[in-house]
Subunit: 388 residues, 2 copies
């Protein structure tokens, strides 16, 4: 926990330079320079200061980062993707090795927090969870990784998986996951009852993959709302993807109100080929929402690059945003708003917040999302992690 | 027109290194090193060789490239965008100055050909056309710019514009443009008759902006097909955007067959917020199609960066492509296929093609579109334009 005075930086779209003062790893003031200072300083060179970047939905264990280019080899559909991964992953270098390399890139890009879904299944056991936790530990606290025990290849359809997921949350995973309870795993009620049961017994949160579209997906959202309320899990449940909220159906607004009412958060990866979530309405209702990379160059897809600032720009471009305020909201989903959706209120660039600062040579947060500049400095807990 | 031996480069997804031999500005062989060579050489360092990049649809004259960041200021809708531009463009530096700066970036990124729509209207007269042509000339032939005389603010609705467009094609513009003959300009038949008339009288091609969606846009496509046939203009007409072909309506396939039959090409800018054109079917029918940047950081939108390789990646990501062959097709639209759609058959990396080569440190064209590496060398007509 360090002291640091960062002088001559800009915040948001305000042109005037300010100082950020960090004492004992916490931001104590933003504005005038400190009157007396004997600690380390960082010259901000008039650059823009952003909060630490946050990836709210990743699949670290799957990455091929650092390996030679590998053309996509999966057959069509979700089943083809799952099968392709099961066949090919055994020949990959260990999870710890691949994830350590990827996490270093995340750190260099200014990332301070990642929620990663990590595969748990009878073939893998807990080995991928262990590999990701070891990789995160090897970064000496430079980045936090929250692990979700994730039944990628099915839970009810692969007996033994639920027990392994429960073992995972007892051995370092922070949350229990789930995947398309109806469309992929075949029994929405039993799937949800099982994961809510694991969460209740182990006092952990839930982050559910829900790709199921249309009325099926929306019915499942209702089941999640019902269980969140029944178990008093308000504020501890995330629905990831939620493609069923993207098609403009008139029933969506009522569902969003229920989601807001029981404090469920949303995670989007803003995919290229699916219409965007109704972000205006989501924020208007006060629903917490984060942005994620999803896979990062893996057996599922060649896309993803561990740069959440670039991802924010991609999200904004995909949504057709042009105005600074709209584009900046995407940067918020990749920084403090994203952190808040993961239950972390202190990862904000304001007095009292943790001393995490990312500097870029850009006019405004929107300009940064559009131009995706390299990080000129990365500060974590008041310590300079990277400076160019 | 230079000689150059580029050794140790790779092509497509083939791993074996080859030599590219350029004599008098033309590629004479790809494969073995030349048996005797006394000319200049370029060490390809095992990098991937791509054809020169092509932007098939740009708006160079509008760019704010090189100027300070300017938050988007337009009101809603097309009319708001047009009005915002008319109000604000008078305070900008001269077209020639802004476009020269932008073209230098295009060249550095390996671009050899751009088709740019350039505003023609009673306020501007031909000044923007002249500015773009002067900027292109100032680059000493490093990049070709084809100008389309474009009635951005309406043609029938702004009397005098059609006459100015005709003057433009008599003074350096290569094609005559048009914009939403029905939805924006109010009279599809008169609009199209006017621009086809200009094309016929001046023996020039046509490139029509068609954003009109649904059945209206499809009706207009039919009108374009009819006039293309009637005037024997097969192979000389491009429809840009063609959003009306993106919604999956059953009538689209028949229209595509007519488009193919009379050699109309398509230009897409693969926008974030509009569904993609049916690319598989378009290529299957043999329709020529190119990719463009559209605006590059202008009063219309903050997006665009003069990098067609990046744009190809963006197109592929937006379409949800994962397989190398699908992503590579987008690179083709930004290179030789795009050039072909503009009527240039010789801008291909093959014996007989012009000696334009772009080198990048990437495994395959798909990998290049995903990772968007800097250009390690740019060769134009056999001359090294850039080498790092």
């Amino acid at each position: 926990m360090s002291d640091l005075w960062i002088n001559n930086v800009r915040l948001g779209s305000r042109p005037e330079p300010v100082s950020i003062v960090i004492r004992d790893g916490r931001i104590t003031s933003i504005g005038d320079p400190p009157t007396d200072w004997s600690g380390p300083t960082l010259d901000g060179r008039g650059h823009l200061a952003l909060p630490g970047l946050v990836d709210g939905h990743a699949h670290l264990d799957k990455t091929l980062w650092g390996l030679p280019w590998r053309p996509h080899s999966a057959g069509p559909g979700l089943a083809g993707l799952v099968e392709n991964e099961r066949t090919n992953r055994t020949s990959l270098p260990p999870v710890r090795e691949r994830v350590s390399s990827l996490l270093q890139t995340y750190v260099d890009n200014g990332t301070v927090l990642i929620r990663s879904h990590v595969d748990v299944d009878p073939d893998n056991g807990l080995s991928a969870v262990e590999g990701v936790l070891e990789a995160a530990a090897s970064l000496d606290g430079l980045i936090e990784v929250e692990v979700v025990a994730f039944p990628q290849s099915g839970m009810l359809s692969r007996p033994g998986t639920a027990e392994l997921m429960e073992a995972a949350v007892r051995n370092g995973a922070s949350l229990v996951g789930g995947i398309d309870p109806a469309g992929f795993d075949g029994d929405a009620v039993t799937h949800l009852d099982t994961i809510f049961g694991i969460a209740e017994r182990n006092d952990c949160g839930i982050d559910l993959h829900l790709h199921d579209r249309g009325s099926l997906g929306r019915w499942e959202v209702g089941l999640v709302v019902e269980r969140t309320r029944a178990l008093g899990m308000e504020g501890r449940v995330t629905i990831s993807h939620a493609f069923c909220l993207c098609d403009g159906d008139p029933s969506i607004d009522g569902l969003l109100e229920q989601i807001a009412d029981c404090g469920i958060s949303l995670a989007t990866v803003a995919p290229g080929s699916v219409d965007p979530l109704p972000l205006d309405r989501i924020l208007e209702l006060g629903i917490d929402i984060c942005l994620g990379q999803d896979g990062i160059r893996d057996l599922w897809s060649p896309w993803g690059d561990a740069d959440m600032l670039g991802r924010a720009g991609q999200m904004a471009w995909r949504a057709g945003y042009r105005r600074d305020e709209d584009i900046e909201r995407c940067v918020e989903l990749a920084t403090w708003r994203g952190a808040k959706a993961l239950g972390r209120e202190d990862l904000h660039l304001e007095p009292g917040g943790r001393g995490d600062v990312v500097l870029v040579d850009a006019a405004t947060p929107a300009a940064a999302a559009v131009t995706k500049p390299p990080r000129s400095a990365v500060v974590r807990d008041g310590a300079i992690v990277r400076s160019q």
